[in-house]
Symmetry: C2
Subunit: 212 residues, 2 copies
């Protein structure tokens, strides 16, 4: 029976399930048991069954799961069957790399606009999009109704930008800045990417290795 509130730990595993099932499907697998999947992914079979059962019953006793069906179910759960229009704020090194490196279509989004305020960057091509002047942002939002935004701007500019974006209908933030988007704004979701913190934990673990 499906649960109503899903824990963060489960949510974080879903994209990985989706990826692994995609690979299995590409390799011609038709069925898979929780046990075999658990061995491939380095999890326990129990955990996998518990995770799936948060959302419904996708398997069959004695058989396992149909790879293709399960994948498409998880895709639907993740909202990958809909593409949410998304914009990028800040087309510096990082913003540009994100825009061209990520396959937005597979991830439930459609990148429809890129903005910067640096005159040297405005007009540049990023993927198939031309970087627009930030002054055009509000008009663009009225016309194209983006719902999600990537923040690749300096931390100092983040607070005002978030307020502006929320006022213009943005509900989802993929946040590469260290600015803490207050979730007291209602009906807003935020995913923070702290690349620096990620590298810092690597430093910690490397140093713990040495001192063992």
């Amino acid at each position: 029976m499906a649960k109503d509130s899903i824990s963060n730990s489960v949510i974080r595993r879903l994209p990985r399930y989706y990826r692994f099932l995609g690979e299995l499907e590409n390799n011609g697998y038709v069925r898979i048991s929780s046990r075999e999947l658990s061995e491939r992914m380095g999890l326990t079979a129990s955990q996998i069954r518990q995770d799936f059962n948060c959302f419904g019953e996708f398997g069959q006793q004695g058989y396992g799961y149909n790879v293709s069906d399960l994948r498409s179910e998880i895709g639907k759960i993740l909202g990958l069957d809909v593409q949410t229009p998304m914009i990028l704020l800040g087309a510096g090194n990082l913003g540009t790399a994100i825009a061209s490196h990520i396959e937005f279509e597979n991830k439930g989004f459609d990148l429809i606009g890129v903005f910067d305020k640096n005159p040297e960057i405005i007009g540049k091509e990023v993927g198939s999009l031309k970087v627009k002047n930030l002054t055009e942002l509000e008009d663009f939002c009225k016309e194209n109704k983006p719902v999600a935004a990537i923040l690749c701007i300096p931390m100092g500019a983040a607070e005002k930008m978030v307020d502006l974006l929320i006022k213009n209908g943005i509900k989802a933030f993929w946040n590469y800045t260290h600015y803490d988007i207050k979730e007291n704004h209602n009906d807003i979701v935020v995913e923070n990417v702290h690349l620096g913190d990620s590298l810092t934990t690597l430093s910690y673990r490397l140093n713990s290795l040495d001192s063992e």
Copy 2:
């Protein structure tokens, strides 16, 4: 009393403590209590004290913590007082952005080499470094002894690359590919960055918002 084995949850919070304490220090704070820090960071005071006590006693009853001392203690715990030589494999969009966007010195690393196999990329300037041909990798390692590596290469090339790097003395991987670095290699640490998975969870949460 300091613990010997630190949980992953604690480790992931350390860089954030370090950042917040840095900001406090910059703003002239001399002391801070676990209670005030907890309010700023959105944690509980209990958790903060528990976290710090994994590593020792850094506070003073009735007073709190000295901001600057605490920050430098956490910096030492994270290994930020040492700079580990690091190389980057793959100087495409993403690799280039990482190399120029991240402040390696603050994170315990020193980026000393960038490699690619694409002739159009070799020779290009990335930050203050010139992209080298991948064929020079082994000689470079013998001479400069890098210990950490960033993987920004295609997934298909990852397995062989990891083996080669381990053979040449690399012990820490900052892995942007989806290749699962088997941690059966001993004395190896890995930090995975799955940007696509991160975006996918945003899609999930955005869609859950709508259906509430």
